[in-house]
C-alpha cells in the first residue's frame, strides 16, 4: 500500500491539470480512493505523471537481436549496468540488451512499451526476449501487410477469409494488434523490387495494390474490434516527395481508425535529395481535420543510432547511401527486415530536415491526443533520449538555439523557425502517456483514475526540463517503487497484453494446406503456446453489442 501526497498531478485522462491531489495505491498495484496504512511519499513540490507509454518502439525480436550482433563497437562505449546480487548486468546504447532496456525505460518513467514489429514466425523468439525485459509492461503488433497467405485472399477478393486469416495470425503470434509495413513493398523486395505507388499492382500479383491492402487491413482491424487500430508504416518511407504517397494513403483510410507510425519519415517534399524539404504542414493539416487518425512523431535526434525496419528495400538504399554495415533478414513468406547503423548529423541537410520535421509534426498537430512522443526507437534516435525531445517541445528558445546550428541552406526547407508553440506539462503528459495509452486501447494505462494500474512517475520540478525528465524522483510500477532517486530498487517482471480476435472455427483447417504449401516448419508447431507468455493479460475486444 502506498499513498502519494501533496504532488501536482497531471492526469489528462481525467482532465487534471496540475491540481494538488493525493493518490492511493492498494496491494494489487491499482489506484484506489483511499488506503489504510502503508508507506507515504511526500510529493510536495513535485510533479506527478502517469507512467510513460511508448506507442512505437523496437526492443525485442530477431531484428533487434541482429542489430545487437552488428554493433559491438557501440556496446563498448555505452552505459554498462553493473551486476548486483539480485540484478542482472546489461548494456545500453543503440540496441540495448533486454535487461538494460527495462532499466533504461523505467529509469525515465516509462512503464509500458509497444513492440511494433513482430513477424509471426519469430513471435516465439520475441516473447522470450520480452520476458527478459524487466519492470515494463508490453504489447506487440504482428506484421501482416506482406503476408502472402493474406495477400492471396485479398487478391481473390475474399474479404471474410482475409479477416479470418488475420485474426488467426494475431492469436497464433499471441499478439495485441496489427502492424502494416510498406504494404506490398516488403513482399516485392524478395524480388529486389519495392511498391511505391498505392495504385500499382504489387510484384507477383495481378490486381492487388498497396492501396487495397491499406483499406482492407484497416477495415479488418475495425471489424475484429482490436483495441488498437491498424498501425501503419506507409509506403515510400524516407524518400523526398513522399508526402504525396502519405496523403494518398490517408485517403485510403477515410472512415477508418488508424495509427500512422513515425510520420516524420513520411512528410517530405521536394523531388530529390538536393531539394528535399519538410512537408509537415500539409500532413499536420490532415491530422487536424481527421480526429480518427493518430500518429507518433518518429522524431530524429542527431547522433549515432542503428536503423531497423521491416522496410527491406529502404534499408538497402540506406546501405548504399552510407556504405557502412548492412544486415538483411527475410522472414519466409511473411515479411523481412533490414538493419543499418546510421549517424544523423546537423551538418547534413537531409538529416537537418528530418530533425525539424519530427518536431514540426508534434507542434503543428494541435491535439496532443493525436500525436505522440516517439523516435521509432532506435531508428530516429534511442528511446532513452526522449527527455531531449521534451525539452525541444517545451522550450522555444532552446529550439531556436538548436536551429541556429543548422546549415544556412536549411532556410525555406523547414517551418520550425516560425513555430512558437511550447508544450505545457499537461500536453507532455498527454503525448507521452495518456494519449498513447488511449490509442493503444490500454484503458488501465496512462490514467491515474481509480481502478487503473498504479504506474506513476514523480519528478522533482526544475527548470532544466531535460534533466527533470531523465531523472525522476520516483518511478512506481504496479504500486511498487522501482526507481528512487535514480537508483533501481526493484526489477519486477512485466506483463504482456494480448487479444484473441474472433475467427471462424474452420480457419484453422483452411490455413493448414496453405501453410504447408509454403512454410518450412510444421503447422502444429507454429502458434505460440500461451504458456510461453510471461504474465499474460487478455485485453477485451471493442465489439459492438
Amino acid at each position: 500500500m502506498l499513498r502519494i501526497t501533496g504532488g501536482k498531478v497531471y492526469d489528462p485522462a481525467n482532465e487534471i491539470d496540475g491540481q494538488i491531489k493525493d493518490i492511493c495505491i492498494d496491494d494489487h498495484g491499482q489506484i484506489v480512493d483511499s488506503v489504510d496504512g502503508g508507506r507515504t511519499i511526500d510529493a510536495t513540490g513535485m510533479i506527478i505523471f502517469p507512467g510513460g507509454v511508448d506507442v512505437h518502439t523496437h526492443v525485442a525480436g530477431g531484428a533487434m537481436n541482429f542489430a545487437r550482433a552488428m554493433t559491438p563497437e557501440d556496446h563498448r562505449r555505452t552505459q554498462a549496468f553493473i551486476r548486483t546480487k539480485n540484478r542482472r548486468s546489461g548494456l545500453g546504447g543503440m540496441a540495448p540488451t533486454t535487461f538494460a532496456t527495462g532499466y533504461l525505460y523505467a529509469g525515465m518513467g516509462f512503464t509500458t512499451v509497444n513492440e511494433a514489429a513482430v513477424p509471426v514466425l519469430s513471435a516465439r523468439h520475441t516473447h522470450e526476449e520480452l520476458a527478459d525485459i524487466p519492470i515494463v509492461d508490453k504489447t506487440t503488433l504482428t506484421l501482416m501487410a506482406n503476408n502472402e497467405i493474406m495477400m492471396d485472399q485479398m487478391e481473390a477478393g475474399e474479404y471474410e477469409r482475409a479477416k479470418n486469416v488475420v485474426a488467426w495470425y494475431i492469436w497464433a503470434a499471441k499478439s495485441y494488434g496489427v502492424k502494416a509495413v510498406n504494404p506490398g513493398g516488403v513482399a516485392a523486395w524478395k524480388w529486389g523490387a519495392d511498391a511505391k505507388q498505392l495504385s500499382s499492382p504489387i510484384a507477383g500479383y495481378n490486381t492487388l495494390t498497396p492501396g487495397k491492402i491499406v483499406t482492407m487491413l484497416a477495415t479488418i482491424c475495425d471489424d475484429l474490434g482490436l483495441p488498437h487500430p491498424m498501425h501503419l508504416h506507409c509506403n515510400n518511407l524516407g524518400a523526398p516527395g513522399n508526402i504525396s504517397t502519405t496523403l494518398d494513403t490517408l485517403k485510403h483510410l477515410e472512415g477508418h481508425r488508424a495509427h500512422i507510425a513515425h510520420s516524420q519519415y513520411h512528410a517530405y517534399g521536394g523531388d530529390g535529395w538536393d531539394t528535399m524539404c519538410s512537408a509537415t504542414a500539409q500532413l499536420a493539416e490532415y491530422f487536424n481535420t481527421h480526429p480518427n487518425i493518430t500518429t507518433d512523431a518518429g522524431a530524429v535526434l542527431f547522433g549515432d543510432t542503428v536503423t531497423i525496419t521491416a522496410d527491406g528495400p529502404w534499408q538497402h538504399l540506406l546501405y548504399k547511401l552510407t556504405g557502412r554495415k548492412w544486415g538483411n533478414l527475410d522472414v519466409e513468406n511473411e515479411t523481412g527486415c533490414g538493419i543499418v547503423p546510421y549517424t544523423y548529423r546537423p551538418s547534413n541537410l537531409v538529416n537537418a530536415v528530418q530533425w525539424a520535421s519530427g518536431l514540426e509534426l508534434m507542434l503543428l498537430i494541435k491535439n496532443p491526443w493525436q500525436v505522440f512522443l516517439s523516435t521509432d526507437h532506435p531508428n530516429g534516435g534511442c528511446f532513452w533520449r526522449y527527455p531531449e525531445i521534451i525539452q525541444l517541445l517545451m522550450c522555444a528558445d532552446f529550439r531556436k538555439e538548436c536551429i541556429a546550428k543548422l546549415p544556412d541552406k536549411i532556410k525555406g526547407r523547414i517551418t520550425l523557425p516560425e513555430i512558437d508553440r511550447e508544450y505545457t506539462l499537461y500536453e507532455v503528459a498527454t503525448s507521452m502517456s495518456a494519449g498513447p495509452a488511449r490509442a493503444l486501447g490500454l484503458t488501465q494505462k496512462g490514467n491515474l483514475g481509480v481502478g487503473c494500474d498504479a504506474d506513476i512517475v514523480i519528478y522533482e520540478e526544475e527548470d532544466d526540463v531535460a534533466r527533470m525528465f531523465s531523472h525522476p524522483r520516483y518511478v512506481i510500477k504496479a504500486g511498487e517503487i522501482v526507481i528512487e532517486d535514480g537508483d533501481i530498487k526493484e526489477t519486477p517482471e512485466g506483463r504482456e497484453f494480448l487479444v484473441k480476435p474472433n475467427y471462424a472455427p474452420e480457419t484453422h483447417e483452411f490455413m493448414r494446406p496453405l501453410f504447408e504449401d509454403c512454410y518450412t516448419m510444421q503447422f502444429d508447431n507454429y502458434p505460440v503456446e500461451l504458456e510461453r507468455i510471461e504474465n499474460p493479460v487478455m485485453q477485451p475486444l471493442k465489439l459492438e453489442k
Binding site: 551486476r83 522470450e128 516448419m521
Partner: protein
C-alpha cells in the same frame, strides 16, 4: 505392445532442427523416428531412458545430484576466473540459466561458435 506416438517432434541433432518427426516410443526407448534422416534416426534411437550412468560423479566417485550441485557451486564460487562453456547440445531454457550463471559469477562465457 502398442507404442505411443508423438507427431511433429523436433530433432536437435544438427542445425536443421527439423520439426516434422514422428516418434514411436514406450517412454523407455524410441523405436521409430519417421521422416528423420539417417543422423536424426541414430540420434533418437540411441538414447534411452535407462539408467546407464551414475547420477553424478565427484572425483570419479558416485555421488548424489545434490552433493554434486553443492560441490559445483563451491568450486565455481571459489574461482577467480571461472569459464562457462558449451551450450550446443542443450535447450534454450538451460542456456538462459548458463548465461545467468556467468553473469552471477563474473565468469567467462563462450559457446561452440568461437571455435
Amino acid at each position: 505392445m502398442t507404442l505411443q506416438v508423438i507427431d511433429n517432434a523436433t530433432c536437435t541433432f544438427c542445425g536443421c532442427v527439423c520439426d516434422d518427426i514422428q516418434l514411436h516410443h514406450d517412454e523407455m526407448r524410441i523405436y521409430k523416428a519417421k521422416k528423420a534422416c539417417v543422423l536424426g534416426t541414430a540420434w533418437f534411437l540411441n538414447h534411452t531412458a535407462e539408467k546407464k550412468y551414475p547420477d553424478a560423479l565427484i572425483d570419479g566417485k558416485e555421488a548424489t545430484v545434490e552433493e554434486a550441485i553443492q560441490m559445483a557451486a563451491t568450486l565455481l564460487h571459489e574461482a577467480d576466473m571461472p569459464l562457462v562453456y558449451g551450450m550446443s547440445n542443450t535447450t534454450c531454457e538451460a542456456q538462459k540459466e548458463c548465461v545467468a550463471m556467468a553473469d552471477q559469477l563474473g565468469a567467462l562465457l563462450d559457446s561452440h561458435t568461437s571455435l
